[in-house]
Symmetry: C2
Subunit: 284 residues, 2 copies
């Protein structure tokens, strides 16, 4: 998916949000804002939003000297989500359709996002996602693919959300071998290997890394990862960044996300805050 | 009130919103965005938001050739509000405190704002404003000032909202002489003389004009208007733009607004969407 002009003010705001987490110094904050505007003025906007976001967050890193502005918030949300784990597990245990309930929870966990321009409440989102119809629901295709899949590549999105992914992976583990892909280095509040380990993914799935950008820009990933991607029978792609970077790539992909930005909602033909389980095969 | 760094991405987004109303051409839209970023990079941010907004909307005007992007929407909301007039009047007629109810409605009308980054529903806002407590409520001071006032300067905000102002002016007319101030030329969806006339202010109050910026920047107004401002016994200031430009000026001012932006909400110490009736005298 290509960027839209609406992404420009949004990314500018994101750069300020990330800087404000690191420093109260208005001189540094203004320097970041103006540097980001300089870069955005010269940048071709036919790139995907994660590619531009990488450039924008690199400026925050270079000017503030901090390469992980959201580290404390990531740790906080990992802990909050881990404390919710028994309750989430009970919701699955008591449900009529364990797999679909686990998918709903994995999508609900996608609300934990410091890149999106939203305020969020995890418990309200869980309740809402469990009870509302998905705006796009390709669950039948998901079950059909799962029946045949021997290996599944699961592309993580954010810290904290990993616990919600774990709930789903625990349901998938009987069906196929799972590889869980996180970011190679910190970017926004995206999950890295440390987050996956903290949230208990380790015994359930092999953990691999993608790249240093939001989403999964294959051209920035190691050849080993690209090979894993190409050989996966089924790909579960969590969140907006992965959708933005993979919506035009080949693969038997199931996008699971909450639409938190108007540009992505419009691209998917859904409304803001809608839940989406969308299948994209090589032929669609 | 001085601008905050948060105003920069917001004003950039506003410039895109206004351009998108005028043209679908992405080349023009991108040109506006990049030109606005050039201006914002060089602009001192110790100006008030209306001063920066004026520069930003001038770029939209210069590049698109359109000096009134919201003219159709302004006409639409004038008509919608005029159709609501009998219903609004009935709410006042049936109320226990006509004046306070009219103030509530005047504040509710402030939701009609195409500069603020919000989606709005007029009927829901009316219901909400009639039933919820104001976050700041200086109604006792308002009544006390009104008792003594012989002339009131009423600073308008937006088209459509004018009908809600009319409801309040009809209650004030028995107490004092009212002067109703609108913008000299179109800016965002701010009310001009045409809007005031269309909405029936003409027989109720003398209509005067301020300047070509959002809010009321006294340094950009004619000396005649500044004299009117200085000699007013009481000033009713509607909306965010007037608060931004007058919060540090002298005058016996009553700010009436809905907080629709986080920067203004923080400045006032209220929450987003809170209703405010705030008194600022020369000594506070």
């Amino acid at each position: 998916m290509k960027s839209k002009l609406e992404c420009v003010p949004c990314l500018l705001k994101q750069s300020l949000n990330a800087t404000e987490v690191v420093t109260d110094d208005p001189v540094v904050q203004e320097k970041v804002l103006k540097s980001v505007m300089t870069v955005l003025q010269d940048m071709p906007l036919n790139k995907s939003p994660p590619a531009i976001a990488h450039a924008v967050y690199s400026i925050v890193h270079n000017i503030t000297g901090c390469d992980d502005p959201y580290s404390a918030l990531k740790a906080e949300y990992n802990t909050i989500a881990m404390e919710m784990y028994p309750c989430l597990k009970e919701i699955v245990d008591k449900s009529e359709d364990r797999l679909f309930t686990a998918i709903k929870l994995a999508i609900a966990g996608n609300i934990i996002d410091f890149g999106a321009d939203i305020q969020f409440n995890i418990r309200t989102t869980i309740k809402d996602t469990l009870t509302r119809e998905f705006a796009i629901n390709n669950y039948p295709e998901f079950m059909e693919s799962l029946e045949k899949a021997e290996n599944i590549l699961y592309l993580a999105d954010n810290a904290g959300e990993v616990v919600f992914d774990r709930i789903l992976i625990e349901e998938l583990n009987d069906h196929a071998n799972i590889i869980y892909a996180v970011k190679k280095s910190p970017i926004i509040n995206d999950a890295t290997t440390d987050d996956a380990t903290f949230c208990g993914i380790d015994p359930l799935a092999e953990i691999v890394t993608t790249a240093d950008t939001p989403g999964t820009l294959l051209e920035r990933c190691d050849p080993e990862f690209v090979a894993t991607y190409r050989s996966a029978d089924m790909i579960i792609s969590k969140g907006q960044g992965n959708y933005e970077s993979l919506s035009e790539e080949d693969g038997n992909i199931f996008f699971m996300l909450l639409a938190k930005c108007p540009v992505i909602a419009a691209d998917l033909g859904v409304k803001l805050r809608d839940a989406v389980l969308k299948h994209k095969s090589d032929t669609t």
